[in-house]
Amino acid sequence: MIEFVMNHLLSVMTFTPLVGIVLIYAIPGTGAKPNVVRGIATVVTGIPLVLGFVLWRGFDPAITGLQFEEHTVWIRTFNIEYFMAVDGISISMVLLTVLISFIACLASFGVEKSVRGFFAMFLLLETGMIGVFCALDFFLFYVFWELMLLPMYFLIGIWGGPRKEYAAIKFFLYTLFGSVLMLLAMIALYYNSRPTTLVDGTPAAHTFNFIKLMAENDFSGAGPILGIAFPKIIFAALFIGFSIKIPMFPFHTWLPDAHVEAPTPISVILAGILLKMGVYGILRVNFTILPEATVWAAPAIAVFGVINMVYGAFVCMAQKDLKKLIAYSSISHMGFCLLAMAAFTDQGISGCVLQMWNHGIISPMLFLIAGVIYDRAHHREIERFGGLAQSMPEYSALTGLAFMASLGLPGLAGFISEALCFLGAFPVFRALTIFSAIAVIITAAYYLWTMQRMFLGKLNEKYAEMKPVTWRERFTLYPLAVIIVILGFYPMPVLDLINPTLFWLVGTIRAAM
């Protein structure tokens, strides 16, 4: 048993949540006992978390290649393989996923409406997310990628806020638009790949294998598509697909709506993990497979990154809804990743992935915080609060910590990644980087202003008697807070994991320059 799990660690992590769905529906009487369902879901999300720890301990960061490989032929006609493995980039995201999923699961206990359905969708989502980060076959990757769409649609559409249907379909259409472009690009890459062999040694005319697409192919010779050079248009198609997920200006408008309408745990997942998939996809697919086109597109990526950062921050200032504000701040913060990844420096790429990680910790905390207040006040309008620090001191302190972490206060996690992003981007994009740093000022402004309007000043008597933070909420908030503080002073656990692979990746890109 243990041997089987260890040999198929990634698969077990990926598909355990599916087993959970079966359990939820198979165990009789769960419909009437939501607590049983919650318990099952917690256990089932807890297992990947524990296995994630095993994965972390078993991972040798010094190796830039793949580890925990599971590789077999899936659909022979199209040379599709079931190929799961982790390297330095993906393991950090897998660990983030299992952690945030567990926390989101705890945060989901407040859901009262059709609990079984909620957790079934939630667990399906987790399978998709872990799968995306583990898959190294493009087809498999795409299947997992799309697999997340459906549960997300329902989670927003059924358990969301007043405009849930609009938000859900908007999210769905946006991401589907992105992913169909990706589908075409994927097929084009497949048909332009060189003959190779499958894992069992049989020859294959083409391949979906990321590693082989990268190592054995150079798409500069492929014929143009719609009059545009092959690598460039494929890059663009993939990039648009991924950048919708990030989300990158001007494809970002689904995010505020989705966040505002989504229930808290789903916002947590959305901000913590789903947004990371865009950046991860760019690193995993665009960077490795199309290095030349990546170099070609780098200035544009950087410019979009800077627009995201500054524009997102500006728009934050104008928000009245706390969740919308956090959503836009996510847009701003993901801009750092874009800017940093486009520089192709060690520090930049490392900053990019670390920023993903840190944002993946900080923004869930922010959304949990927004959820706490929404549960009590049933609205999130910043202006309608005031002086909450008096009635909810612990909550205010946690919010302060999260805000400070998000605005990049040194000593907390966000700072290191932002500093690395700036450090990495600066030698390549000097003026842009300096300009983008304006975002740092604006970020401070909107967070502090929010802090002031919500927590400081005279107590709004309406909220004088607020329920203190509950233990369940503490279980979700404190782990994140602790991680934020620890990573601020000791980011090595993450850096150690990601750096060797990222340096190798950047090296291959630089070789293409």
């Binding site: 001007p250 970002h252 408008t253 206060l409 040194p410 000593g411 300096i434 502090l448 202003w449 750096n499």
Partner: protein
């Protein structure tokens, strides 16, 4: 360069206050509820005084070493090792930081002690001491940091604590806003700091070619100050965007410093910062945090010394700030506001010092200022405490008798700040003015005269407004109401003891660095020589000679005395009446100065409002245009679908009719196609077949067979 010695316990210095902050922050509320306020203060004080003892130990260790080896490093671990970049979490103690840690923990300790009494009635003392300890931690990180990035941690950390402490009484929205203002204005400075840091680090690690492509030359970028100092030769002569890289970086760093140290044009937050508890003003907004900018420039002396242009900017801004803030001090009524502008002004002096390359003098003034200004603030706190929170000097008066300790310590410190010979302020300020006069400026020849002139005028002003304050507060009759008057009392020993200690220091510390003409050992300069010795080589004296030094010294003493006398003449008797009379006589000028030249209003109009407007515009654009475009696409599709029952099919229908007319010569006014009417279907089909034929021909003609 010698490898610095390793000491493995430096980290304890910041760690102890951190522990104090942690304990008070997590269980402090419980302690306070369970045992009263005592444990909170005790923990905080223990932490700081512990740090002080270790600092003293380190100081002694350092003194025991030969001067060129006076640098101790405590490398904890690699903090951000990414590629060639290897930023360490590492602390360094050299003569400069030794001075700073002694000041921070010493003065800080006294203020912690004072706080016990001052905050004795506050309902969340635990929070206060947690913040205060946290501040001490951050400040110590700032001064002990071995590299720019770690320094930035402390740099922003103190900013955070300042924010928290200014808004300590957050229930008052104005106080909360003051904290926010401080943080955001500081962030503007931090932005420049960050930019400077990026520029200097990458400039030192490689070069940009003409195309802007970067090549890295160095091996490991440890980015510590020793590495940076050793890279200066490499940096010299490099240009970025047509400007000398060092100058650009130094100016950016200095902009950072103007934020933290409240210089023009970013000083606006400091007067507002007086909203915090008075010991906080003493510690953060007088003695330590606001001097961080000076410390940073001094720390980067090796860079600034190489850029006369940057130094000119620094000294110019310093002088301008010194003078500007002093004038505002004339008209303020709030005792803390006066001290705040005085602080801004004195910080200007420090920048004059470091700006003319007299880093020692700048740091010297930093130290003496820490003593006397902390003392002044604490006295002010004592007064406010006694006056039940009243801060308007016009409503005070006659306190000397009732609060002897406070009065005498306040007087000593005021004399010190005014520059009366023998007291600390005299030595440090005079040193700065002398260096300002004597140091040659290779960029603008007459600069020394200008800076000196502004500095001297500011000194005159300082003497005047400080004594104005003394007279208004302590002399004459008490103008408070009976209720308040009844409560006036001297403060408890925890508050007076620090006053006495600080006043004593303010009195005697000056003798550590007597002027050159005194022919006494200049211990202070000698102590800092290992740090600033290298930079000093780039600074040239104008060799004005002893005579000039004596002369200028005499002149500045005369100015100080003149200021004091002038204040005495106006305010000694019935100061409040005099103040009102003055403002009545020059209403416009008074209004103008009293309202701080309307700088805040100008900022509001020129920066804040446009900024907020822009955010609203962008918010609108995002909600309506960016999102609108997408929705439009969606709507167009939907509308297209909706009307495809008629419009779209009208077109098809029209074509059907057209082809029908051509081919069969029969036109019929058919309406819609998916009407359910069979005839229309047939039309479409027949028309379609014909259309296909036509298209076939066209395709064949145009595309040559469509292959």
């Amino acid at each position: 360069m010698n490898e610095p010695l390793t000491v493995n316990y430096v980290w304890l210095i910041p760690f102890l206050p951190l522990c104090g902050a942690f304990v008070n922050g997590t269980v402090g509320w419980w302690l306070q509820k369970r045992f009263g306020r005592r444990p909170n203060g005790a923990i905080a004080n223990a932490a700081v005084w512990g740090a002080f003892l270790i600092s003293v130990q380190l100081f002694l260790t350092l003194r025991g070493l030969p001067p060129e080896q006076r640098a101790l490093v405590n490398h904890l671990y690699s903090w951000i090792p990414v590629g060639q970049l290897d930023v360490a979490l590492s602390f360094t103690v050299d003569p400069l930081s030794a001075v700073m840690i002694l000041v921070v923990t010493g003065v800080g300790g006294l203020i912690h002690l004072y706080s016990i009494g001052y905050m004795a009635h506050d309902k969340s003392v635990w929070r206060y001491f947690a913040y205060l300890n946290l501040f001490t931690f951050a400040m110590l990180v700032l001064v002990l940091a071995d590299n720019l990035l770690l320094m930035f941690v402390g740099w922003e950390g103190v900013g955070l604590c300042s924010y928290l402490l200014i808004g300590f009484w957050y229930q008052d929205v104005e106080k909360a806003k003051a904290g926010m203002k401080a943080f955001i204005v500081n962030r503007v400075g931090d932005f420049a700091f960050l930019a400077g840091m990026l520029l200097i680090l990458w400039g030192a690690a490689g070069y940009w070619d003409d195309a802007g492509r970067y090549t890295m030359t160095g091996g490991t970028l440890s980015v510590d100050f020793r590495w940076l100092a050793s890279a200066t030769t490499y940096l010299q002569g490099k240009e970025v965007l047509g400007v000398s890289l060092i100058t650009l970086a130094c100016i950016l760093f200095f902009i950072g410093a103007t934020g933290k140290s409240a210089q023009l044009p970013l000083y606006v937050w400091l007067p507002d910062a007086m909203a915090g508890p008075t010991p906080v003003s003493a510690l953060i907004h007088a003695a330590t945090m606001v001097t961080a900018g000076v410390y940073m420039v001094a720390r980067l002396n090796f860079l600034f010394a190489l850029s006369p242009a940057a130094l000119t900017v620094v000294s110019g801004v310093g002088a301008a700030t010194a003078l500007f803030a002093a004038t505002i001090g004339f008209a303020q009524r709030d005792i803390k506001k006066v001290l705040a502008y005085s602080t801004v002004s004195q910080l200007g002096f420090m920048f004059i010092g470091v700006g003319v390359g007299a880093f020692t003098a700048g740091i010297f003034h930093l130290m003496t200022h820490a003593f006397f200004k902390a003392c002044l603030f604490l006295c002010a706190g004592s007064v406010i405490h006694a006056m039940s929170g009243e801060q308007d000097a016009l409503k005070m008066g006659g306190l000397a008798k009732k609060m002897p300790f406070t009065f005498w310590t306040f007087l000593v410190s005021t004399l010190a700040i005014a520059g009366i010979p023998g007291l600390a302020g005299f030595f440090s300020k005079d040193e700065i003015l002398w260096k300002a006069f004597d140091t040659a400026n290779p960029v603008v020849a007459w600069w020394p005269y200008l800076v000196w002139g502004m500095g001297a005028t500011a000194a005159l002003g300082t003497a005047f407004y400080m004594f104005r304050l003394v007279y208004l507060t302590f002399a004459g009759e008490c103008r408070a109401d009976e209720e308040t008057k009844h409560h006036i009392h001297e403060s408890p020993w925890t508050m007076t003891l620090p006053l006495v200690a600080l006043a004593s220091l303010a009195a005697v510390a000056g003798w550590l660095g007597p002027p050159g003409v005194f022919n006494l050992p200049n211990t202070f300069e000698h102590w800092l020589e290992p740090v600033f010795g290298g930079a000093a080589r780039h600074i040239t004296s104008r060799e004005s000679g002893h005579g000039a030094e004596w002369g200028l010294m005499g002149l500045s003493v005369a100015l100080a005395v003149a200021g004091i006398l002038a204040a005495r003449a106006v305010y000694a008797k019935n100061g409040a009446e005099a103040a009102r009379r003055l403002s009545g006589r020059f209403p416009l000028i008074h209004q103008f100065v009293f309202n701080k030249y309307y700088v805040d209003e100008i900022y509001a109009a020129l920066v804040v409002r446009p900024f907020m407007g822009l955010t609203r515009v962008l918010g609108w654009i995002d909600a309506h245009i960016v999102d609108g475009i997408v929705n439009l696409v969606g709507k167009v599709t939907a509308v297209f679908a909706m009307i495809d029952g008629w419009i779209d099919l009208y077109i098809v229908d029209g074509m059907v009719n057209l082809t029908a007319w051509i081919v069969i010569a029969v036109g019929r006014k058919a309406k819609t196609v998916q009407t359910g009417r069979l005839q229309d279907y047939l039309y479409v089909m027949a028309g379609g077949a014909v259309l296909m034929l036509v298209v076939s021909y066209m395709v064949e003609r145009v595309f040559g067979g469509g292959r």
